[in-house]
Symmetry: D2
Subunit: 152 residues, 4 copies
């Protein structure tokens, strides 16, 4: 990844390849060894992540804790952004808005599907649809903003 990957504008202009899923996995595995999200796909402005669900992730009512779904949304956005702008570790969440729509299944993984809505020089905005694995009914919907650090 060359020195010009820092913004999507640069990437768009000079036709750089997006960051590969393997590169992102290596980075995430090294920097966030505790994460339980795995990457299922990274594409043009999109990413899909998966978070297994165990007993420790449940709350009263036999459903998944909201915090888990917020984390999946946040990670899905992060992966989609890294896929687009390259490995920029100090890219940080500036805001996240999540609506919980339906009770997720207690026994299934949570899948987060992110679509970036805008990749600007300083801010990236995307939405994430969350599902219980194997179901087509959205269990939550999130919109988040990440800030990209200025190039040095």
């Amino acid at each position: 990844m060359g020195p010009d990957y820092g913004t999507a504008d640069a990437a768009a202009t000079i036709g750089l390849a997006m960051t590969s899923q393997a590169e992102i996995e290596a980075f995430v595995g090294e920097q966030f060894p505790q994460t339980r999200c795995t990457i299922q796909a990274v594409g043009k402005l999109t990413a899909t992540v998966r978070h297994t669900i165990g007993a420790e992730d449940l709350r009263p009512g036999g459903t998944v804790r909201g915090g888990i779904m917020m984390e999946v949304a946040d990670v899905a956005l992060y992966i989609a952004i890294l896929g687009e702008i390259g490995i920029v570790p100090l890219t940080v969440t500036t805001s996240l808005n999540i609506n919980f729509l339906r009770k997720p299944a207690a026994s299934r993984a949570i899948i987060g599907v992110c679509r970036l809505l805008k990749v600007g020089r300083a801010l990236v905005i995307g939405e994430v649809a969350l599902y219980s694995e194997g179901s087509e009914q959205m269990v939550a919907h999130a919109v988040g903003t990440y800030s990209i650090p200025p190039k040095r």
Copy 2:
């Protein structure tokens, strides 16, 4: 579960005491044994919670993961609501909006201070200010909505 405390309206009308911090701690300890938040205070429309921070809670840049702060915001709201309406386990988050303002200290606990803005029959809305322990600078600000199940 007593018959009369189930809604804030009932509580307001007949002057019931709010749920005590000890009752809430017992409930949370039983239902959410994995939580790392402790309750510091529960008052009229307010609650303060604390989450210790360890190496596993950090992200690149030496700061606290966003997911931790979202969880603190969510728990602070939940505790404040239980304090107001009683132990209603199926009270669930319907939405959360969080803005990250400043980089939290890597070596300090996160403190969440919740203030409820409205306690209705079906929906409760509150805001949470998040701090690194010992600092007066807000590191994040959240607004969340919880749904209260109808009384049977």
Copy 3:
């Protein structure tokens, strides 16, 4: 409109027709004579509205005021909901979250395309994509929640 239209669940169960665009237009014209939004389409869980833009709708920088886009988002949600649950005038917005993505054209109408994400008994949640007419680039994205009054 018969007595059973009140919830989407009822509508789904007994197969009631959705409210027609003409019925909604008549209602909106009578109740909100000052609105400058017109309805372009109402479909299953969707609605499209259009707001003309004049000089009074612009702000410095030659772009559309944010308030106009918030109004289009709010109206698009309202129309989609009326299309789904029938003419329930006291259906009111409980929250709206909007992200402004790109500068809209000063000389074009704003188009709002709503898709409902969940139609529950008490709450409806939907998202709205906003465009400058004739362009495929989203200028803003909103997520809103409406509360449906209980049936009397």
Copy 4:
């Protein structure tokens, strides 16, 4: 206001006076002649604005349209920011999240009280409490983000 007013950091460092209410009023009157918000106060990180309510601002149920409250929130943020960073016309809203809490009075002005939570170089975040004039019960609560253009 000299050439260095462009960021809050600069203002904080070199101790520039905040923009005066009169300067802001002159700017707003010239640039937004159609606005119906008046400025009641501008202070350190705060602003209070007022929007008269007439028949054209009401919706079914005898209450104020949500769009009016969104506009008051947006304007209150804008005024507070101009008070802090100076007259920077291209400062634009990037996101707004609003929760509607109680039915505002149909016959009273809406008052918006803004408090800025963070004034950064590129982003400003603040919250706005909305009231019916003369009442202490919050009718809505908003959190918004503005983007400040880079200095040329």
